[in-house]
Symmetry: C5
Subunit: 327 residues, 5 copies
């Protein structure tokens, strides 16, 4: 259930033996910025409580409950000097244009970072390596690990934003050129946008608080700048997502309008043809009457004259309707 | 009318004799966190005033008025060091997809918790047992009972959120696959969502205030964390409910659009059939004319040729209409 | 023009002689909470200025201007230690479902309460009697009279809320069961809701300020609790009214959609009948042709066979249309 | 280019000689509240800079730029102890229901008020006379002149509000009684409402700031009360304008719906007539067939019976359609 | 890659030699307001880091990352006493009514201004010359250069606002006079408005902060006034853009409604013609029946009477339809 562990001392990675021993050692002799990174995946309540007690992490029962139960809003909470963060990890499935949401909990305490992953998405791949490559940052202590994680998660938001923007462009293109888009597809995209937005929005206020409030446990001003950068990127995405829902509403109604206009034009065309056919029918009816005295009937070319009349009228109507674009 | 009573001393339940005597005893000798829990149901003004005087609870007349009259907004008010809370209890009736709202008032004063239930819903079943099982929390005094109650009420909100989300999914499914949903059903669901939202929204601000304001009567930081947890869960629900109304508006207009498109397609189909029938009618009319000189009439196979012509034209039109999906 | 006067000393009513003498006496010897209540109705500028000077009330010219001109927003303004309040009084006319708005100005100064009523609505009937019955409250001084008035006015808002909610329920019922509601009626109700909302909304912020701001002239904490109670009731109404406009918009578009769906269904039905009639017309046309060689014409039962064919086709079409609910 | 000048000493108007001399005199010997009022109209950059230098007004180049360029938002800016105000002056043209916007800049400095008018609207007519009549107010110094101007401008907003409200009422009346309103007219009114709103909204926040902020240069509390009164009137208008846009949106869609319902009803009526005519046509077709053996053809009253049948069916259909309101 | 450089001493331009030498000299001996202006275009990460190190500018890695990566929100960030600004530069392409967005980064540190341009748009042309012409402003130090740049950028926003307003007017004109506007064009304009808005909105809050917050590094009050002026102009544009989206939504639905009304009118017209033709068809059918006893058939002028009847009915119907505007 512990899927990962690492020990960082003075900005560089050290061999990591038994977790409780190493943690004890750091507490005794380490500098404030030395820390251990422990990675869990889908722990049960019992497992997490066991880790908590064995390593003496001092996790609050409420944070444990959140981490085990999942289905949380994104948030940043402080428990005394410790920080508990819930992040929504997003991924995009090209085949179905589907946004999928996972959860990642991070608990940053004295001398440790505990990450708990829920679901299959593993946004942490690579994060650790990058962080280890930047010793100055690593030397800022466990909060630098939190920054590295959040930076990655928010970078993924930017990537998904690009995908969704492309989906919206495609749908716009389709609606305005061919008019054969099902409202269903637009509505489905709206739902993905909503899912995206629900992942992002709750994080905005606490992230701002994290780097602006004087009460936050950020030992270095450099850390404030780092989190401000993440905040900025999050706002970039949030701004854009905000506009997608409105765009899609416009596209949706434009599409419906286009379908309706098309259907009405069809009806008009059919009716125009029926109207054209009604004229020869009427004329034929007249010369099908059985009056004794109907001179035209006895004209030698009467029939052909009437046929000609019918054709003339039909062609005339056809031309008229064509001119006003009814046909 | 007093439907429940219990005495808690140093985090555990004690036998509870006459209420005034016990309360008097606690006031004299008890620690600050000892308290009595009194449960009422639908008290009249007189009954509640009697309890208030006999036990010397010091309830404010305005709080009594609210508790008796009911039909209140959810709120958290302080009267000096006492706290008066109005909660909306919600339940979900599967058969009708109906959300039902009840009221629960809680008055937390020195050494006592007074709960007043209005309506049949009894959200307190089990709350007391759970609280008694957690002695540490119980030892935090009467506010821990308030937390236990609010935690339960908000957990019920989460359950109802799940039900409503399912109802919305079902309606979406129906709209986008079969198109036979009555707008009535969607509108009705919107009303339930509104009822849900009205129960939740007014609680947000005072609950936040309760655990963040330095002036609140929360003797332990642990209590602040507990109420912050409830706050977090309430926000989780509030976020989701916020989006339901918009979703349902979209579904509603998608449904109407679908019905309209369907009706227009029906009209187009009928008109197409009428147009097909108009052609043989016109031809027949022509050969029903009574001109003396109509050579075709005397051809031996004239009739059959014309029948063939009619059939050809009809089949041709049918094929054309089929191709452009009008039939 | 002075339609009412009363003198309150130490929480009970005393005989009230000449107003200037009594007021002078109170100023000399009375306790801080003794006061005179003066009631005016539709005073002119001159009348009000005369009262102001004669009694030495010290009303500010701007307050006088507002009181005389009327057509004000609801508001609570302080002029030094005095408070000037404009209230919108509402009433509901059952016959027309109409909300009507009146105005009530209250000026609370040292040792006096001046109420100025505009329009026929007299919300003060009974307020004085109730206040006189509650000596403790009366003993809190002139601000207790302001509370009594505002409490009454806001209670009337609650009553009107009930009426409007009922009107909305009726309209919903009508739209969703019979579909014969004119959009006009819904729109009219929206306007009444708007009128209601415009009366309520401006009062929210200053009323909150009144009982929370440390700078307000509220000599007793008890008065703060009393105004907080009015504030709470006002919020209750405001919350509900807020949702009415949205509900009515939904109802309005649901109604329009229902009408449109109905009209389209009518058209489909008529067209279906026309389509049914087109078939025998076409067949009859065929056998009305004058070809020499049409064998069926000479069959002994040809006519009856064709009649049978026509009937069969018509019945078949009828059954088909019935099955797809076009008829 | 200087179109007006006046000198006010101790609350009364004095003869005003050469502007620079008078201003110099006031600076030397005058009390703080003595001031000169200078009125300009459409000055060029050079003219305004010349006035500024000659009189030593100390206008900031940015304020000069705004005053000359025009096309500003309404605003209240302080430059040190001086105040620069941009007001949008509105007028209403009855013939076209058009709201027209002008600009008025006011610069209040030590011992002077400089008003710059752009466009033909002259809202200042009469303002000066009224102010001169109220010596107490005039004695409050140059800010009293600013108050007199703003009070007038906002009073004009109230007048325009009355006109627009009347226009909206007329359009509502028309839409709901006759249904012959062009959407164009409603849309045009929306634009005027928008123009109105854009003039008003930016002024709200700085005006509130002006009379509430302790940092504003308002030497007398009386001035704060005066500006609060203008603020109150501005809010009155702003509240109402806020609702107009929504009202007009509702009216717009109600109108479109009405037109659409009307058109559909027309179609239904035409189709019903066509359906009625289809029945005798069909019957006539049947008896126009040329079968040898059609017994009815030889009945003596066959023709009249069929005519009767046709009439009966048509009348029956007509009655039916009438009953369901299709005709 | 360095496309521009300049040295400003005591408010005037000096010859600028090697950048590092000059910068070193200023640091040693210059007054606080002397500075160098360096202009870059599309630098790579390596190039920018090299400049940073060589000149000892002390740019923060996060600012470098933003400047190189681009695709940022407009923002104003402080890094210690330095300020990093991202601006969106906009231009308008008349041919396509397209708004195009570029990026301009400005880094203001001690004794230097570094501008980094992304994309082809060069908003800085002329800015430098203007600034150099205003020595007083230039003498305020490097922040005066930032002001000159922002002033220019925001002035360009105003120009684009004028263009968009004209486009909107044209579209309104078209919709309300001819009704031949494609929804596509309106939607496309909405997107440009959105692009405009997204460039502007994020700048509003930090710009306000820049000139109001006491913590900002603005050495002169004069600079605060200058930035407040830019802020004011930005608000002017923001106010207007805010209303464009709503206007275009109204225009969009007005256009759709117009198209729909037009199509329905066409259908009504066609149907009316068909209805007119149905009457002679019906009459002709009647006199085409083959009854033995049809007296009219034998009248000498029967045929002509019937023709006259048909003509009369048709003309009557035509007149009726014309009167109710169906034709
Ligand atoms: Mg999807
Ligand atoms: Mg998804
Ligand atoms: Mg990043
Ligand atoms: Mg990064
Ligand atoms: Mg895709
Ligand atoms: Mg109450
Ligand atoms: Mg229900
Ligand atoms: Mg319910
Ligand atoms: Mg819970
Ligand atoms: Mg819990
Ligand atoms: Mg269900
Ligand atoms: Mg939790
Ligand atoms: Mg007033
Ligand atoms: Mg009414
Ligand atoms: Mg009314
Ligand atoms: Mg009340
Ligand atoms: Mg009451
Ligand atoms: Mg009623
Ligand atoms: Mg300016
Ligand atoms: Mg106009
Ligand atoms: Mg105008
Ligand atoms: Mg006024
Ligand atoms: Mg006035
Ligand atoms: Mg008018
Ligand atoms: Mg006034
Ligand atoms: Mg960045
Ligand atoms: Mg474009
Ligand atoms: Mg563009
Ligand atoms: Mg500018
Ligand atoms: Mg400028
Ligand atoms: Mg253009």
């Amino acid at each position: 259930m512990i899927i990962d562990k690492a020990l960082y001392r003075s900005g560089r990675r050290d061999a990591c033996g038994d977790l409780s021993d190493e943690l004890e050692a750091i507490r005794q002799t380490g500098s404030e910025t030395d820390f251990i990174w422990i990675g869990l995946k889908d722990p049960t309540m019992d497992e997490l409580e066991e880790v908590n007690e064995e390593l003496g992490l001092g996790l609050h029962p409420l944070a444990i409950e959140d981490a085990v139960k999942g289905r949380q809003r994104a948030k940043i909470e402080s428990y005394g000097r410790a920080v508990f963060v819930v992040l929504k990890t997003l991924s995009y499935i090209e085949a179905t244009s589907d946004v999928e949401t996972g959860e990642l909990m991070v608990h940053v305490g004295e001398h440790f970072v505990l990450t708990i992953r829920r679901g299959e998405l593993s946004p942490l791949a690579g994060v650790r390596r990058e962080l280890e490559a930047d010793r100055e940052k690593l030397a800022l202590g466990p909060m630098s690990a939190l920054h590295a994680i959040m930076d990655r998660v928010v970078d993924q938001y930017r990537e998904i934003d690009v995908e969704l923007a492309r989906d919206i462009d495609e749908i716009e293109e389709a609606v305005f050129s061919e008019g054969l888009v099902s409202s269903d597809a637009i509505y489905r995209l709206k739902r993905e946008v909503l899912e995206f937005r629900r992942a992002i929005t709750p994080l905005i206020a606490p992230l701002r608080m994290l780097h602006t409030s004087p009460r936050t446990a950020l030992p270095h001003d450099e850390l404030r700048l780092l989190f401000r950068d993440v905040d900025d990127h999050l706002h970039f995405v949030a701004d854009r997502v905000e506009s997608y829902d409105r765009l899609l509403s416009d596209v949706l109604s434009a599409n419906l309008a286009k379908i309706s206009v098309q259907q009405n034009a069809d009806m008009r065309r059919i009716s125009a043809w029926v109207a054209i056919a009604a004229v020869p029918t009427m004329i034929a009816g007249i010369y099908g009457m059985n009056f004794d005295n109907m001179p035209e009937l006895h004209w030698h070319y009467g029939y052909f004259l009437v046929l000609g009349l019918m054709a003339t009228v039909c062609v005339g109507l056809y031309a008229t309707f064509k001119k006003v674009s009814w046909l």
